[in-house]
Structures are given as C-alpha cells and as structure tokens.
C-alpha cells in the first residue's frame, strides 16, 4: 500500500514537472506570455513564504522573531546577493529574538 502510494506520487510529480516542457516544445511564446513567465519565480517564492507561515486555518503563525528574521534576510539578500549571508542573518535574528523574548 505504501509502495503504491510512493510510486503513484513519483509518477504524478514527474508528470507535473515534465508535462509543459513536452507540450510546449514547439510553441511560439508570444511576448505577453514570456513576460508573464518572468513573474513565476518571484511570485511562487513569495507565496511559498506565506504558506509556510500560515496555519491550515489561514492564520499567520509568525511573531516578532519570525518577521524580523525574514525582513533581515530580505535586506541582506538584496544588498549582498549572497544566500549564505542572508541565511545566517535570518536564522541569527530569529534565534536571538526568540531567546531574548
């Protein structure tokens, strides 16, 4: 039963990733479509952040340590462009504020 679930999920998630790469292999993308695709990365990342911080009931599960940590991450990421630096900033801020509070 578990084996079936793993295999079905594996097939399903592969199809989701491969489908449009094959389906649109010869499609001539109009400019408006190419512009729309440019927004996929920033919007999906933004949406992922919020869905990780909300409970299944739709409530925001983030206090000051979380919000300060993420704002710090965003600022350092923007200035430095370095993921390791922004990760350290985010985690350090979160741990420090969580420990003080």
């Amino acid at each position: 039963m578990i084996v079936t679930a793993i295999i079905l999920t594996g097939i399903g998630s592969y199809i989701m990733r491969a489908f449009f790469i094959f389906a649109l292999a010869r499609y001539q993308f109009p400019p408006i479509m190419l512009q729309a695709l440019e927004y996929v990365a920033p919007t999906v990342m933004a949406a992922l952040v919020i869905s990780l911080l909300t409970t299944p009931n739709g409530e925001l599960a983030a206090g000051l340590p979380e919000i300060a940590g993420l704002v710090g991450t965003a600022i350092v990421a923007k200035i430095s462009g370095n993921h390791i630096l922004s990760l350290i900033t985010g985690m350090a801020t979160y741990w420090l504020l969580g420990w003080i509070m």
């Binding site: 999920t9 399903g12 998630s13 990733r17 790469i21 649109l24 919007t43 952040v49």
Partner: protein, 228 residues
C-alpha cells in the same frame, strides 16, 4: 581545452551548494515524519529517488501516518507539488532548443531551488544551460539522497525546540529577493504574498496557485497599461 564546457557545470554545482543548507533540517523533519508514520526507514527513504521533492514526500507520509487512504494521501501530496507545473511552463522556452534526452531527464531534478537558479541569470546558449541545470539539479539530488538517509536514521533524535525548520521560509525569502531583480518583480512578489494570505485557508497550499495566477495577471495589466 574543455574549460569552457566545464565552467557552467561547476557554477551550477557551486550555486546549488549554499541553497542546500536549509534543506538539511528539512531532511531531519522528513526522518521524523517517516518514523511517526511507522514506515520502515528504507521504504521511507526510497521516496527520495522515486519522488525527489521534500514537501511532497513529507505531505505523503504525514497523511499516511494519520491513516489517510492512498488516494487521499497521493492527491494531497500532488496538490502541494502542483507549483512544479508552473516551473514546467516557465522553463519550456529554454527546453525548446534541447536534445530529447534532456527533456526527459531535466524535469526529474526540477525542484524549487533549481528552478530559481535557472531563472536568475537566464542562459541563452543551450549547451551552457544544460550543463548548468544538470550540475545544479544533480548536486541537489545527491545531497538529498545522502541527507534523507541520515534523516530517517537520526531524525527522531533532533529536538524540535531548535527551530531549524525556520530555515525554509528564510531560504525562500532569500530566493525571492534574488529572483526579484526589477521593481515590477518585487511588486509581483508583494502582491503574491498578500493574495496567498487571503487564500491561506484553501487546503494543501492550493492558495499558492491562485495567488501566483492573480498576481501575474494584475502585473501584466499594470505594466501593459503603463506602456500605452
């Protein structure tokens, strides 16, 4: 010599390494979920090569552990992973000039981080893109195989009070900023955050898809209007 062909592979692997750090605590979370579901370690780990998607694997085993049916667990896991369809659309133009074998292999390692890496500096040259993509993808893949193996063995030993799970939203904020290299993209990201919050009650992160769709349409309307 072959340095020109080698460098995109090295930069792909080098780009992947720092982004894997936040996945390490997630590999331990995965280990805890497998243990709680009462699934043998090897069987839980086998989902890493078969599925290769952290959130999808965690959702599947969480629901199985809660006693959900195969159909319910699989469909919930696939809804969580549905954003990969958006990646598939977004990468379709770059895959048009690729050999068929790469169209088959590439999607297997198409995860969040690999997608964002491939979008940061869009590579026009097909060979360079392919080497970069495969190097980044299989660097992640190898590390995920290794750390989920460690995770299923050691995961239950890591205390939850460390708060290491917070590394996931931190990573995605960092990736969001890297991907928002123009003001309109920052605007799109902010819109997506607000709309995701408004649709947060939809099950299995389905609100994510709604938010991406609406914010992209709004940004197209705003920027197109501005051009006239």
């Amino acid at each position: 010599m072959s340095t020109k062909r080698f460098s995109p592979a090295i930069s792909g692997a080098a780009g992947a390494l720092p982004l894997f750090i936040p996945a390490i605590p997630f590999a331990f979370v995965f280990g805890v979920v497998v243990a709680n579901a009462g699934i043998p370690e090897w069987l839980g780990w086998s989902s890493s090569p078969i599925i290769f998607g952290g959130a999808i694997q965690v959702t599947l085993f969480t629901l199985i552990g809660e006693g959900a049916s195969v159909a319910a667990a699989v469909s919930a896991a696939l809804v969580v992973g549905a954003r990969h369809m958006l990646y598939s659309v977004a990468l379709a133009p770059q895959f048009q000039h690729q050999p068929t074998w790469f169209r088959w292999v590439g999607p297997y390692v198409l995860i969040d981080q690999v997608f964002v890496l491939s979008q940061l500096n869009p590579i026009k040259e097909p060979d360079t893109f392919r080497h970069y993509f495969l190097a980044a993808g299989f660097t992640f893949w190898s590390l995920w195989m290794l750390f989920t193996a460690i995770g299923v063995v050691l995961g239950p030993a890591i205390p939850a009070s460390w708060g290491v799970e917070f590394a996931a939203p931190v990573l995605f904020v960092s990736l969001m900023m890297a991907a928002s290299n123009r003001p309109d993209k920052i605007g799109a990201a902010i819109l997506a955050m607000i709309i995701t919050y408004l649709f947060a009650e939809l099950p299995n992160r389905a609100g994510l898809l709604v938010a991406v769709f609406i914010s992209v349409v709004i940004m197209l309307l705003i920027t197109r209007r501005g051009q006239r």
